[in-house]
Amino acid sequence: MNKTVRQWAIPTFAIILFLLLWELLVWANGWPNYKMASPTDIGPAFVKYWPLFLEYSWDTLWRTVVGLVVAVIIGTGIGMVMGFSRTMRDALYPLLVGFNAVPKATVVPVIALLFVGQHDFNTILIAFMISFFPIAVAVSIGLSTLEPEYRDILRSLGASNLTIFWKIALPKTLPEFFGALKVSVTLAFIGTNLMEIVEPHGRGLGHLFDSGKINADYPLMFAVLIALAALGIILFYVVVLLEKIFAGWAERSDGY
């Protein structure tokens, strides 16, 4: 089979099969749609609320991406500080671990009250808070495990620390960075939705999910889940694409 056909046909087939089994499961058990909506219930829900889906998907998407970008900037910054300075690593590590250990679901209501009404800010803040940790850890490990010889090669030529960072430390850390980013992108997405669901009068897919619940519109709730899955897949593969572009060298080609 042709490689591109394979790449597209097999996943497509798997998705169709999944939907069929789902429909079959609901039909065989005779479940009403408030117990479990079937794909044939969800289709009409999408059609009915299509403009809302477009608008709210966009809200969820841009908030997640902005939160993630902030997480990348701040996470990389913290990672750099921890990677280059042993003292800072010892100082920040317990704080970061403690911060990360707090389930973000419990932080969501606190933030929602703290900045009441500022939906965009709140959502971005939670997306950032939940997703920067893996990035900070990956960058700090990548930098602190840089073999001294790599540094010496450039330092012996009189290179500045900044040059060493750009030429060696940064590119060498990219595979770890992207590994972390794949985790973070999913986390940021969770963060966004948590806030959207909790906040009253909000926007975004989380809010649409919540209104589905309030109005007992179960097919709508399931439709939101499908939309969330689709958005999550898109975000994830954007990261994969970026990884291929910037850290493709770390991938062993076939046969090695």
Binding site: E147, E149, D152, I153, S156, L157, G158, P171, K172, Y256
Partner: protein, 264 residues
């Protein structure tokens, strides 16, 4: 001829949790311009510290390191380094790895000049056709060849090598030794070679310096010029066998065992 490298009375100790650990004790080594000096000694005797001092990567507690009439206090671009680990950058092609120093050291070469220079060197060490490969696609010996090219691409006055062939198998190592002679014929440089392979030190160097056990000082020097001959068969001549014997005895003394005691 003047000395290009002069290490005068260098004493150095590392600070550890258990107090200072002296590694060098009044070490004197000098290398004339164009010559190749091999430094051998028991393991852990401070040989690698010596390379870092010459490269200006660290300052000695006492004593002075001079390079070309200038006192070394910080890194300078007139030095090239090669380690046991070839430390090639996986995200760069072999060609771009060799070019790296030219991107750091101030020069007015164009990109094309740099590529030409790197290609010429790679061809000299037998790596034609591998310019666009990634380091992971090359064997250990080939990677070390590329690493040597990178060490001398900016025409350094001094090449410092810290056990560059230590991780290679015996046959590859002999190949690389011959490559070193080929490189020196084309690109004259002054060299310091840290090694634990006595045959390597005799074959490649003009002078072998034996360091004592830690803290190291200069224990013995031997002129190992082989009348300009570079064929590998030379290593199996009686002349070289005698040299080897003397060096082995010196290493044993450095390790704290006397030569006669061990023979019994």
């Amino acid at each position: 001829m003047t000395n290009l490298i002069d290490i005068k009375g260098v004493t150095h100790a590392y600070k550890t949790d258990k107090g200072p650990l002296p590694v060098l004790d009044g070490l004197d080594v000098s290398v004339k311009e164009g010559e190749f000096c091999a430094v051998v000694g028991p393991s852990g005797c401070g040989k690698s510290t010596l390379t870092r001092l010459v490269a200006g990567l660290m300052k000695p507690d006492q004593g002075e390191v001079w390079l070309h009439g200038e006192r070394v206090t910080s890194p300078r671009s007139t030095v090239g380094m090669a380690f046991q680990n070839p430390v090639l950058l996986e995200w760069r092609t072999i060609l771009d790895n060799v070019i790296l120093p030219l991107e750091i050291v101030p020069n007015n070469m164009t990109r094309a000049d740099r590529e030409d220079r790197a290609r010429a060197l790679l061809s000299l060490v037998g790596l034609d056709g591998f310019e666009d490969k990634r380091p992971s696609e090359l064997s250990g010996g080939m990677r070390q060849r590329a690493s040597l090219c990178r060490a001398i691409v900016h025409k350094p006055e001094v090449l410092i090598m810290d056990e560059p062939f230590g991780a290679l198998d015996a046959f590859t190592r002999e190949d690389l030794w011959q490559t070193m002679h080929a490189l020196r014929a084309e690109e004259p440089f002054t060299g310091v070679l840290i090694t634990h392979d006595l045959r390597e030190s005799i074959y490649l160097a003009d002078e072998v310096v034996v360091l004592s056990g830690r803290p190291a000082r200069t224990q013995y020097r031997m002129d190992t010029r082989l009348d300009g001959r570079t064929d590998i068969d030379l290593l199996y001549t009686p002349e070289v066998a005698t040299m080897l014997g003397t060096l082995r005895d010196q290493i044993k003394i450095a390790q704290g065992r006397s030569a006669t005691e061990d023979a019994l």
